[in-house]
Amino acid sequence: MAYIKRNDGRKFDETRPIEARVGVIKNSDGSAYFKMGKTIAYAAVYGPRSIHPKFLQNPRNGKLRCFYNMMPFSSMGERVRPGANRRAKEIAMVTEKALLPVVDLTQFPNSVVDVFIELPQTDAGTRCAGICAASMALADAGIPMKDMVASVSVGRVDDALIVDLDYSEESYENGTVADIPTAIISRTGEISLLQMDGKLSREDLKKAIEMAKKACSKIDKIQRDALKKKYEVKNE
């Protein structure tokens, strides 16, 4: 049976409803909340601050350090064991690499900017939601940035190319599934994250990336609006 209609009734190129806010964590230097359907990500930025042990310091440049964590109660299945595991470390690394091209830490030698991404509720697309939240949190913390990063997953379920897969689509059983998380640097349209899980033809991949770019430009607008909203004039 072909995948003609999406499980939640969305169009093929439609993302889940998005909600974004900044400045949600008071004790951090910058923070953001990014909700995409049922997936929720919080990001908190601390720094630039001094980094220890000292051998991790880089006298020419500041360091960006990301952490990714799924909370124990976040998944629909079994309890997630807290703490870093193989998967979390990998996602933290790709998040860092997705954000690094836009962050400019040359003004902060020997220091570190820590980004903590926490997921209290997940329904696929967590690394994308995490990157979106982290990008907003970094801007909120006043870190010098050349641009912002928006991220979305695209893919193919059976023979339909779709944007923003949820868990039911990612685990679709009546056909093949390809899941491609992407991160796009908004202004230049450069790709800073591209991973793939599953099988996809070369033509389909090109089409999928085009779909991702379109979706990311919409997400980018939501991110920027959220940042501006923090400083809006409040009518008394």
């Binding site: 230097d29 910058g30 720094g47 220091s111 006043g142 870190i143 050349k146």
Partner: protein, 236 residues
């Protein structure tokens, strides 16, 4: 002929295009990409003739030579003190830069002990952000009593006001002594109930610094808080 893409005094996000054409020049918080000028951080646009810059709204204090700051002693060295200056970096106050001559074998805690707050001046910052402080100068001293609050260091100019007008208005209204460090640490001493009014006022300035008509609003707020009429001195 170039074209401005944003209005003066609007809030922009990283990567936003500010102007087109080579007649505009990028200043602080912006950079040039081909013929466009791009914002490199979250901030308020300020256009001054051909110069375009953004004034950042967030971010840690960056130590600058000549700044008078409030610092906390965190450690004592063989020949000086380590200071926490509410920045990504710490500063060093050498015994040579203390107010009076200190003998080599003297007990340094007798001058400034750990956890003491001092008003000090930054005399040097290197490329690697090593910071030297000095106590030689008028008004530089150890702080005794009062209370300390931390504010966003980017809002310090608004708390002080043009020629110190804002801070002197608060001083006159509440009768408190106030010292505002460039690094965003503020020291307040006075009657406890007046200290609380000062803290509330400063928090209000911090929140509404970028909205025009600030002085009028703060004046009304202080009048309500102290039940006194305030006469604003005109600064030439």
């Amino acid at each position: 002929m170039g074209k401005l893409l944003v209005e003066d005094k609007t809030i922009v996000t990283p990567g936003e295009e500010l102007a087109e054409g080579m007649d505009f020049l990028p200043a602080e918080g912006t950079f040039r990409d081909k013929d466009k000028i791009i914002a490199s951080g979250l901030g308020l646009v300020s256009i001054n003739g051909r110069l375009i810059k953004t004034i950042s709204m967030a971010g840690k204090y960056i130590p600058k030579k000549g700044d008078t700051i409030i610092a906390k002693v965190t450690d004592i060295l063989m020949s000086g003190w380590i200071l926490d200056i509410n920045s990504s970096y710490s500063a060093v106050l050498s015994v040579k830069e203390a107010r009076d001559f200190i003998r080599r074998d003297a007990d340094l805690t007798r001058y400034y002990d750990i956890d003491d707050y001092i008003v000090t001046k930054i005399v040097m910052v290197t490329s690697q952000r090593l910071v030297d402080a000095s106590m030689k100068g008028p008004g530089l001293r150890k702080l005794i009593g009062g209370r300390i609050i931390k504010v966003n260091s980017n809002k310090v100019p608004r708390i002080i006001g043009k020629g110190g007008s804002m801070v002197s208005m608060i001083k006159n209204a509440t009768g408190c002594s106030i010292i505002v460090g460039q690094n965003g640490i503020v020291w307040i001493q006075g009657l406890p109930k007046n200290e609380i009014i000062v803290v509330k006022t400063i928090r209000k300035i911090e929140q509404e610094a970028h909205i025009s008509g600030l002085t009028e609003r703060i004046k009304a707020f202080l009048e309500k808080g102290t039940n006194k009429k305030i006469v604003v001195e005109k600064v030439e």
